[in-house]
């Protein structure tokens, strides 16, 4: 009894944290990329803020109070690496360097100046979102437990618990369920699921994905959730949870 109570509390706390949208500052000189990046972030539940090029300065950046900064190295006003160093003097906000300069030296330099990640253009948008998500997860440092209705999901053990009942998920099923759970009430495409799987070194093919999803559905049925994962034809899947 006490355990489930704890979970309910946790669930509520989690909701509250989720309600505050994460603010991501995009510093990017190419307007078309800036616009699309902002809409990508907004579609994924973040608040995207872009600074006009002539207003890029450490003061202005810190005034926005971003939760994360996407920083292009090749910005015209001042070099991204210099800007990175200056921000680091005053703040420890997570910074992801985004650049078309694909070489080891730049990457090592940026990381040594205090960047949290380094992504080269052209990037896969899903990967970019996964990396951003990973940084937030690292920052919040919360326990490895996620909650879906009255199920609790332990990622480290790969176990779904409902009261006394436990189901063990395989690694693939876990990745899929985790992705659906972190994007609950949103349509998730097969491509996104595939990208997350491949990102975790599970190089499976289309058929295997279908098989894994139907296995996951069966396992959810075992704990009484019959239509938890819905198929939206031609679009993908959705995990409904109200």
């Amino acid at each position: 009894m006490s355990i489930s109570l704890y979970k309910i509390c946790y669930n509520n706390k989690k909701r509250n944290v989720d309600d505050i949208m994460k603010k991501i500052l995009v510093i990017e000189d190419d307007l078309s990329i800036q616009k699309e990046l902002a809409s990508l972030l907004e579609n994924s539940g973040y608040q995207a803020i872009c600074l006009p090029l002539n207003q890029i300065s450490v003061e202005n950046i810190l005034k926005v109070k971003p939760d994360l900064i996407l920083l292009d190295i090749n910005i015209p006003v001042s070099n991204g690496e210099v800007l990175l160093q200056e921000i680091r003097k005053k703040s420890s906000v997570p910074i992801v360097m985004v650049t078309s300069r694909n070489n080891e030296v730049d990457e090592v330099l940026s990381m040594s100046y205090g960047a949290d990640d380094y992504i080269t253009k052209p990037y896969n948008p899903t990967i970019l979102l996964l990396r951003i998500g990973a940084i937030f997860k690292r920052m919040e440092n919360h326990s490895e437990e996620l909650v879906y209705k009255d199920l609790s999901f332990n990622i480290q053990k790969g176990v779904i618990t409902r009261g006394e009942q436990q189901i063990v998920l395989t690694k693939n099923e876990m990745i899929i369920f985790h992705y659906l759970l972190t994007h609950k009430n949103q349509i998730v495409t097969r491509d996104e699921l595939m990208t997350d799987l491949w990102n975790n070194d599970e190089y499976i093919n289309d058929n295997a994905l279908t098989v894994n999803i139907s296995r996951l559905r069966n396992k959810l049925k075992e704990v009484g959730y019959y239509e938890a994962i819905e198929t939206r034809k031609g679009q993908g899947y959705i995990l409904l949870c109200d």
Partner: protein, 339 residues
């Protein structure tokens, strides 16, 4: 400088001397000079001519012999001037000065081309970074409006991206000194990047991507290695069999002082006759002509980069059944100790 040729070259001197000697003899006859005086003058004359010729020969021989020898000995013969002492005779001085002037103008000329080349390379690198921006922009637009695009568009964009990478690494491999950094790199991480990069292509072509036991660390530049393996994987995708289950299998083994990474596919393979030539520049071979989309540059650049990084690359293949590429990384004992 040989005496015989030198003397042959001085034939006019001997002819002149012969005429002069004849004239002198005739004069002696006309003035009825006595025989002893005649003989003494003749000997003196001959002696002087021989001495003059010899002195001239030896003075020149020293300079020209060293010049000729050094030119044949040096691998960069245009540097010969630096190895010579300034000669002490007029012709030599003249030649020395001329060589100096020619050298100088040649260096200026070469330098000029060098500058042009660096400018060009810098421009190409800059251009590559520029062209990646619209590609990145396209990828984002595609992702945000997936309903309006065909999935095939993104595959074509990947192809374009791949060609752009190819030229970037070609430029880099030619003047490699400046931008690579040897580090301890995790093979599985590099392979993971490559898998993600080629995910759409692999899925579209129904190729199984199998990775086993690659949890090793090797000393290399991660970006360069990524390019190398990516080219090989791309070739495997390009030259897959039309039907049947295709796969690309990547494994690694640890062998005492080296780690060998194997990339194997069950594609159309490479004909035996083409196998020794695959690393040559612009070599397309039977497969390239057949598939009609080969530049013959990919493996050439790969080989170039491998040589620079000190990795060995070998290809084994059987036409119609498989191709295996082996990448061998050496372990560095010194580095192990340092750690």
């Amino acid at each position: 400088m040989r005496l015989k040729s030198y003397l042959k070259d001085k034939w006019w001197l001997f002819v002149l001397f012969f005429f002069m000697y004849m004239i002198i003899l005739l004069m002696f006859l006309a003035f009825k000079v006595n025989f002893s005086c005649c003989l003494a003058t003749s000997i003196l004359l001959f002696l002087f001519v021989i001495i003059i010729i010899m002195i001239d020969f030896f003075r020149k021989r020293k300079f020209y012999t060293t010049l000729v020898n050094h030119i044949t000995m040096l691998d960069k013969s245009y540097l010969v001037l630096e190895t010579l002492e300034k000669p002490n005779f007029y012709e030599g001085k003249l030649l020395y000065q001329i060589l100096y002037d020619i050298n100088k103008s040649m260096i200026e000329n070469v330098k000029n081309y060098e500058l042009q080349m660096t400018d060009f390379k810098e421009y190409v690198e800059m251009w590559i970074h520029e062209v990646k921006i619209p590609i990145a922009s396209f990828m984002l637009i595609f992702h945000n409006h997936q309903d309006k695009f065909d999935k095939k568009a993104v595959l074509q964009m990947h192809r374009l991206e791949n060609y752009v990478e190819q030229i970037l690494y070609y430029v880099r491999s030619e003047n490699a000194e400046k931008d690579y950094l040897i580090n301890e790199v995790s093979l599985s991480k590099v392979i993971s990047h490559i898998a993600l990069k080629n995910k759409d292509d692999l899925l579209e072509n129904n190729i199984d991507f199998i990775v086993n036991d690659v949890n090793y660390k090797v000393l290399t530049d991660s970006k360069w290695l990524e390019f190398i393996i990516n080219q090989i994987v791309n070739n495997s995708i390009k030259y897959k069999k039309e039907n049947g289950n295709s796969y690309i299998k990547i494994t690694a083994i640890d062998k005492k002082d080296q780690i060998i990474l194997t990339i194997e596919d069950n594609g159309i393979g490479i004909p035996l006759a083409d196998l020794p030539k695959v690393f040559q520049k612009s070599f397309t071979g039977h497969n390239g002509r057949f598939k009609n989309q080969s530049t013959g540059m990919g493996l050439f650049i790969v080989k170039n980069l491998c040589d620079k990084l000190g990795h060995k690359i070998n290809i084994e293949s059987k036409e119609g059944s498989y191709t295996r590429v082996f990448l061998t990384f050496s372990k560095d004992q010194y580095y192990e100790v340092l750690r």
